[in-house]
């Protein structure tokens, strides 16, 4: 990807709320960042976490609680959610990296289930109803995130959109930097040949844990963003279905590509919103896409495109 392509994408992001329904666009950004954060583990470290909903949803609850019940400003709430997800990731990660391969996936799934049960039982999470009516508040105590700008007769929540877009860019930039740093090179080495990375003297466990913490913190950032956009933190966010969905988004777009996970997330979220009339059949469709993806194009569509263009995307 050259500089011009990045500038073009950034411009698209800046102009999108004038063309696409802004709340939908913000949902795309939240799940796009979630998938990109997840890909840092699956795509670049070779670790399949099946419990990433715990960080996404956990951070959403923390942000929601702090903003709604404690009255903190949104940026502090988002920061707290992200830090919480990072700490939770540290705890889950240190346990999970004790096992390899598919056991790693099962351990993360089971640990995320503890988070789910805790979210169900804790007093402030609102149980089955979730945490509703979370205020968006004043950014830095100054900018009202509820304010809408009238553009061509349509009220557009531009302050909120650009706040979310800025957070997305920040998160995506961190991931991009991590991947293209010496740290990222070590992660790729672990993915390709763990035994060899160990024999070269790298403390593999420490690198895996760092990747896990970074990935879970950014997944938390995405969850906190989602909580402000929808003003809701619910059990759906911590459910294993959500963990599965982020795997699908990444797989569909392209595991181990920079643009794949957001592209996959955009596709899945768009499908979900366009296909609301099929009701519960959406689960069947999602499952079907999973099966087709695994059987027919394991590189994902961005991965296949990259192979066609002979350059990494």
């Amino acid at each position: 990807m050259n500089r011009y392509a990045w500038i073009a994408l950034a411009l698209l992001g800046l102009l999108a709320p004038f063309v696409v329904y802004p709340v939908f666009m913000m949902k795309l950004l939240c799940f796009g960042l979630f998938a990109a954060a997840f890909n840092l583990l699956l795509g670049y470290t070779g670790l399949l976490s099946f419990g990433h909903a715990a960080f996404f949803g956990g951070a959403a609850y923390v942000t929601g609680h702090l903003v709604k019940n404690v009255g903190l400003t949104p940026e502090v709430g988002v920061l707290a959610g992200t830090v919480f997800a990072g700490l939770l990731g540290w705890a889950v990660g240190s346990l999970a990296i004790r096992r390899q391969g598919i056991y790693f996936a099962m351990v993360t799934l089971a640990l995320a289930q503890i988070v789910y049960f805790v979210a169900l039982k804790l007093p402030f999470t609102g149980g089955e109803d979730g945490l509703q009516g979370i205020p968006r508040g004043l950014l830095f105590g100054l900018i009202d995130l509820n304010r809408v700008a009238m553009v061509g007769g349509n009220p557009l929540p531009l302050s909120l959109y650009y706040f979310i877009f800025a957070l997305f860019c920040l998160g995506f930039w961190v991931i991009h930097r991590a991947i293209h740093s010496p740290f990222g090179q070590v992660l790729k080495a672990i993915r390709e040949n763990e035994a060899r990375a160990i024999s070269l003297g790298y403390k593999v466990e420490r690198f895996k844990l760092m990747a896990f913490v970074l990935s879970s913190a950014l997944a938390g950032l995405a969850g906190s963003m989602k909580c402000l956009v929808f003003q809701l933190a619910s059990l759906t966010d911590v459910n294993w279905h959500t963990s599965g969905e982020v795997v699908l988004m990444t797989l569909l777009g392209g595991v181990g590509t920079v643009l794949g996970p957001p592209a996959g997330a955009f596709t899945v979220v768009t499908l979900q919103s366009k296909l609301t009339m099929v009701g519960p059949w959406i689960t069947v469709i999602i499952g079907g896409i999973f099966v087709v993806c695994v059987l027919l194009f394991r590189r994902g569509f961005i991965g296949e495109l990259g192979r066609l263009l002979r350059r990494p995307l």
Partner: protein
Amino acid sequence: MGMSVQTVLSQVMLGLNNGVFYAILSLGLAVIFGLLNIVNFVHGALYMLGAYVALLGFTMLGPLLGKPDFHLNYWAALIVAPLVVGALGVLIEKTMLRRLRKFDHLYGLLLTFGLALIIQGVFTNYFNVSGDAYDGKPESLSGVVDLGFMLFPKYRVWVIGSSLAVCFGTWFVIERTKLGSYLRAGTENPELVKAFGINVPLMITLTYGFGVGLAAFAGVLAAPIYSVSPVMGSEMIITVFAVVVIGGMGSIMGSILTGLLLGMVEGFTKVVYAPASSTVIFLIMVLVLLVKPAGLFGKET
């Protein structure tokens, strides 16, 4: 704490009842993992499917065949459900899993996850998530048995007894017979076993069919106890995954014993501190990961 020995024993017995389900399901996962090297995520959904074969066989098969009085009875369901689900498993293995054999094992997990979503999604569309009761429990299994310290439902005694028989039967076949020796050899070195003229691909297909057949058998056993619902499998499979992490999938006997033990621990927790009973297995998993990362019976390097 004011708990009598009787309360503890009765909860442990009820826990053992859950334990046999964990045992059968984790046994199936272990058998499949041994030969196919995949974690069968669809196991829970096929357990649910087994329960639905029993339920629908009892309520809908008759009207469907134009004989409203016909009910597929419980005993027949115990045989039919594993066969139907086993056949589906053979189909899944032959058409899909087989293609993934040369790729990373994670793809097997992802494929079966997708299949689980499909099956669960289809049933969620047609059936109530809160579940339907199965009325086909045979007369001979109703009533209670006096165990000395408590009155225990006869049906649950049957569930525990028959599950244990199936578990140990499977263990015996795999560890003590010639057929089992082929299986174990296939686990260690499929190429060499092939060279001896044994049809390894067929063996793999049948093993997968057998493993998911076990899940369906457990589903039929569960039908009269728990309500039959589209989500019964997904709730079960995550707990069973924790059981498998605790026990390790390397040993058949290990997975059976871990399942039984954890069921009893869960039952015991219900007496001591009920709110923790839904998470106790996961907490034990954390403890095992801290103390013995390879699992209680693990052979993982």
